[in-house]
């Protein structure tokens, strides 16, 4: 006899159907774009993720926001050659120059690594249940903010200016009813899509709540 209804199966998969529906409505499908700055339904997990929770969006600042420090690193890499070319250190023994150059390049490597780590691991995650903002403010300080999608007000976005318009990135602000009034994703790609997905997810959850599911 065919199984007409499986309560366990329905309960287990409800959020997947919800996410499928929302992504279909906004014309998105699982993908990784902008060097990992805009990931739709990535097959990844984050700390404190629950069993019935799935990442819908994983966002980082647009890669172009790294341009400043990348240019600085390039400048730091060519600087020793330029300075030594002027002959300023002609009186310094060669072994000191060699060690000095190696120290300089190591510091440059460390700076580049640190900036990359801040960019790569400061993420804004939208799941089927909540928003998670993970920020690394310095090497020792991590801030994680959560906001349940049932407790958010209407999300908003801010974009503008030549660079932001050209590369299509901006800031997303979500007002919450908690102690921390806003949760924000700064410089993320396609902020209008982010706002759209958050709004639709919150709406669908609200409908489920009204239906008593």
């Amino acid at each position: 006899m065919p199984e007409v209804y499986s309560a366990q199966g329905t309960k287990k998969e409800w959020w997947k159907e919800l996410v499928d529906g929302v992504l279909e409505k906004v014309g998105e499908e699982p993908r990784r774009a902008m060097l990992g700055a805009f990931c739709v339904r990535p097959d990844q997990r984050f700390m404190t993720q629950q069993e019935d929770e799935e990442i819908v969006l994983l966002l980082r600042a647009h890669p172009i926001t790294n341009l400043g420090w990348v240019l600085l690193v390039i400048l730091m890499l060519v600087l020793p050659g330029v300075i030594l070319g002027t002959g300023v250190f002609a009186a310094v023994p060669g072994k000191f120059v060699l060690v000095g150059k190696l120290v300089w390049y190591l510091v440059t490597l460390m700076y580049a690594m640190e900036r990359f780590l801040y960019w790569y691991y400061s993420v804004f995650i939208v799941t089927n249940e909540r928003l998670v903002d993970i920020d690394f403010e310095n090497l020792m300080f991590r801030v994680i903010t959560y906001a349940n999608l049932n407790h958010i007000e209407e999300p908003a976005m801010v974009t503008g200016g030549f660079i932001r318009s050209m590369f299509q990135y901006g800031d997303v602000f979500v007002t919450t009813a908690s102690e921390k009034p806003t949760i924000e994703a700064l410089g993320v790609p396609w902020p209008h899509k982010v706002v759209d997905i958050i709004s639709r997810l919150a709406e669908e959850l609200e409908k489920r709540r009204e239906r008593g599911e």
Binding site: R45, M47, F96, L98, M110, V123, R142
Partner: protein
């Protein structure tokens, strides 16, 4: 050789580049401590979000630490 002659002889052996060498070594030792902090921090960061590149980034942090230690040894040996 009495003690005052010993001190004078020792002071005469101190050169500008000798002082620079030990300043550099102390600075590099502090840098090694910082590299250890980076390894710890990378561990914390990679725990926050699962990602394919986590292993590569951890490896990079360890290579950075080893390079810092190697540079201390090089500075003591070569300078």
């Amino acid at each position: 050789m009495n003690s005052s002659e010993f001190i004078v002889n020792s002071l005469e052996k101190i050169t500008l580049f000798g002082v620079v060498k030990w300043f550099l070594v102390v600075g590099l030792l502090m840098y090694v401590a910082f590299a250890v902090v980076i390894v710890r921090q990378v561990k914390i960061m990679t725990e926050a979000v699962e990602d394919d590149v986590n292993g590569v980034i951890s490896l990079f942090a360890w290579v950075h630490l080893l390079l810092a230690v190697a540079l201390v040894i090089l500075a003591i040996a070569v300078l």
